[in-house]
Symmetry: C2
Subunit: 449 residues, 2 copies
Amino acid sequence: MSFEHTRKYYKQIESAIRNEDRDFIVKELSEMHYADITEMLYYLNTEDCRYILDSLSPRVGADVLSELEEDIRVEFLKSFSSKELLRYIDYVDSDDAVDILNEQPVKVREEVLSHMQDKEKANNILELLHYDEDCAGGLMAKELIKANVNWTVLQCIEEIRRQATKVDKIYTVYVVDDHDVLLGRVSLKRIILAKDEAKIKDIYVPEIAMVNTFQAEEEVAELMQKYDLEVIPVVNVQGKLQGRITIDDIVDVITEQAEIDQQAMAGISESVEPNDSVITMSRARLPWLIVGMFGGLLGAKFIGIFENELTLVPAMAFFIPLITATGGNVGIQSSTIVVQSMASSPSVQETMAERFFKVLLVAIVNGLVIAGLVFVFNYFLGDSSLAFVVSAALFSVVMLASFMGTITPIVLDRFGINPALASGPFITTTNDLLGLAVYFSVAKVLLHM
Amino acid sequence: MSFEHTRKYYKQIESAIRNEDRDFIVKELSEMHYADITEMLYYLNTEDCRYILDSLSPRVGADVLSELEEDIRVEFLKSFSSKELLRYIDYVDSDDAVDILNEQPVKVREEVLSHMQDKEKANNILELLHYDEDCAGGLMAKELIKANVNWTVLQCIEEIRRQATKVDKIYTVYVVDDHDVLLGRVSLKRIILAKDEAKIKDIYVPEIAMVNTFQAEEEVAELMQKYDLEVIPVVNVQGKLQGRITIDDIVDVITEQAEIDQQAMAGISESVEPNDSVITMSRARLPWLIVGMFGGLLGAKFIGIFENELTLVPAMAFFIPLITATGGNVGIQSSTIVVQSMASSPSVQETMAERFFKVLLVAIVNGLVIAGLVFVFNYFLGDSSLAFVVSAALFSVVMLASFMGTITPIVLDRFGINPALASGPFITTTNDLLGLAVYFSVAKVLLHM
C-alpha cells in the first residue's frame, strides 16, 4: 500500500468513527495485522485511538498495546483505569507487560497485579519488574516450554498442549534437570519426528548458547548475532532457566544502539524523538553547541595573540576555515573507522602496531594530496606568498587530526564512554584548536615574523 | 571467555598445528561452535586455517565457510580446487552457497555446479545466482518445508521427515495450492497438537506477510521488523513460493546499513574494512576531503574580498572558527534528527508545517542561548567592539544552519541519495561558506564599513 493510499484509508476510518459505524470498524480491523493497527493509531487522536481499541478483542488489543512506542503509550494509557488496563494485561506477554506496567504509577501497577486472574503470570511479572531494563533479565519473557530431561516425548507434547494458549511462539523446547538447571534444547522438528515413547534425554542437544540475567543487552545482541539465533535462554547464577529473549527485541536493541551512535556523532546528548517538546529538543542539543562555542571563543583568544601578524599579513585569515574544516573532516573519518573496527570482530593477522603504521601511511598519502592540491591552487591562482605556509600547515593538520581521530575513541572506550562520541563535535572542536595552533605556529616560523 | 584467555588458547592451537597434533585439534574443534571456529580463523595464517578446515567434518566446515567474512573467504578459497570446494558446497545452505560461488571465477563456479551430487540443489543455486545480491531473491534460501493445502497432517509430517537433513531449521510450514501459490502457514506447534488425520486446510493460518523476489533488502528488513518475524516467505509475481529469508541475514542487513550511514556521516565514500590496503583507504577518504578543500579555498577567496575591512578591524578574523564551527554543529544536529525521523515510522498528529515550526522554535531557542552567551563573554571579557556583530551573525548562522540541516536530507532523499550524507562533510562545507557570508555581511552592515 502506498503512503497516499494509507492516508486516504485512515481518513475513511476517522469518518466511520465520527458516524459511530462500529460494524464497519470491526470488520476492517479484523482484516488488519496488529502492527498495522498500531501504525494507524499514530495518525489518530487519543479519543479515536480509544474507539479503535474498544473495537478490538482484548487479545488483539494487547498486541497493539505491546507494539505502541513507549512515549505514545504512556500518553494514551493515562486515561485508563487499572481495571481497564487489566482487561489487556492478561493477554500481554510477560516481557511487554513489564514494560507497560513500569510506565504506570505505582498505584495502578499494584492494583493491576493484585487483580490479575492468572496468579502465576502476576508472579512472573513481579519477578521481572526487579530487573534493569537494559540487561538480559529486563529483556526476557517468562513464556517458554521446558521439558524435564527424564520425560518422554509424549509428556513433552502434553506440556506443549497445556501451555499452548500461553506460549504463542515456541521456537524450541528447553530441557532442564529436576532442579530446573538448563541442560540443552530439543527442536520441535525433532519432537515431531521422534516416537512418542522416546526419551527426551536421548534426543536433546546438550550444547546451548545462553546468557545470564545480569548480562548487558549489547552482549546478548552480540551473542545472538554471532550464533545466528532467533531465541536465547536466560539463566541465573545457579544455571537455572529463568526466561528467554527473542530476536525481535534484539533487533530493536541493535537499531536503538545505531541511533544512539548516530546521535553521539551528531552531538545530540539525549535521545530525542520527533514529537518531543521544543524544550527537550533544545536541551538535548545545547550541551555540545556550548562546548563548541567555548572552543570557538578559545580559538578567538588564540588568534588574538597573533593580531599584529594579522595586521601585517591579513591574507593569513583567509585560510582559517580551510585549516579547521580539513582538521575536522580528517578527524571524523579516522575516528569512525576506528569505532567501526572496534565494533566488528577483531580481524586478521594485524597487530596494533601494524594498524597504526597503516593509519600513518594513509594520513601521509591524504596529507600530501590535499596539501599538494592546495599548493598548486595557491601558487598559480592566488596568494603565492602564503602558498607554502598554508600547505605545510595543512599537511601537519592532516597528520595530527588522523592521530587524534584514531586515539580518541580508544581512550574514550577505555574510560567506559561511548567511542562514537569521538566522531562528533568533541573531535571537531579539539581539531579546530589544534589546527589553529599548527597554522599560526607554522606561519610564524616560516614567515620569520 | 576473556580476550586474553582466547588469545592464549589460539596460541595453543597454533603450536598443536606446528606439531601436527591432529588428535588434539580434532578433539578441541569438536567442542567448539562453528561461529567460534570461524572467529579463530581470523587469527591464524592461511595455512593453519587450511589445517583447521581439513580437521573438520564437511558439514561443520560448510558452516564455517558460510560464516566467514566475504573478503577473507575470497582470499582463503583461492587455494581451493573446484573439487575441494565441492566437498563443502553440498552441505552449505543454498543462499550461502550462492554467496560463495558468486565470489569464485566462472570456471570454478560452473565446475562445482556441474559436479554436485544433489541435482535439485544445483538447480536451486543456479536459479538464485540470477538475483541481485541486495534484493529479496538474493537473500532467500530454497530450504523450506511446504505442504499442499489438501494434505493431512500425517502427509505433512512425512514431508518434514523427507526433508529433515536438508532443512536444518524449519521455523514454519508453508501452505501452497496445487500450483505452488502461497496460501498461508501452519506452525510446528499446531502440527504437534493436531491429529494425524486432520486436514492442513482446516488448521492453517491464511493471512501471511510475504515479499516479492524483486523487493529491496531494506524493505524486507522493514517488514520483518514491523511484524516481528524471524522468517518471511518470498514469492514471485504469480504468488508462487520461491524461498524464505531468515532474520539472521536481515540482522546483517540492518547492521550493515547502520555502518554505511555512519560512513556517510563521516564522509567516507566507499565501505572500508580495517584490513583494506592503504590505497583503498586513501581513495575512500579523499573525495570528501577534496570537496572540503574546495570549500575551504572558496572560503579563502570569499574572505579575500574583505581584505581591507580585515586590515581595519583584524579582530574580525578571531571569530571565524566560532562562526564556522557553530554552523557545522547545528547543521549536523538538525540533519541527524531529520534523517532519524525519516527512518522511523511516521509519527503522531503532526503535519509537515508543524514540524518546521518546531524546528524554527528550537533554532530560535538555541540561537538565542549561544548568541547570548557569546555576547556576555565578548562584552565583559574581551572585544566589546565586535560583541554585537559576532552575536548577531551567530544567531543568523544558527537559524540558517538549522534550515539547511533540515531541508538537505529531505532533498537528497527525493533524489534517491542516502540522506545520511547530509549529516556529513556535505553540510559542514556548505554551512562554513554560508556562515562566512553571513558573518562578513553582518559585519559590513553593522560596522558601516
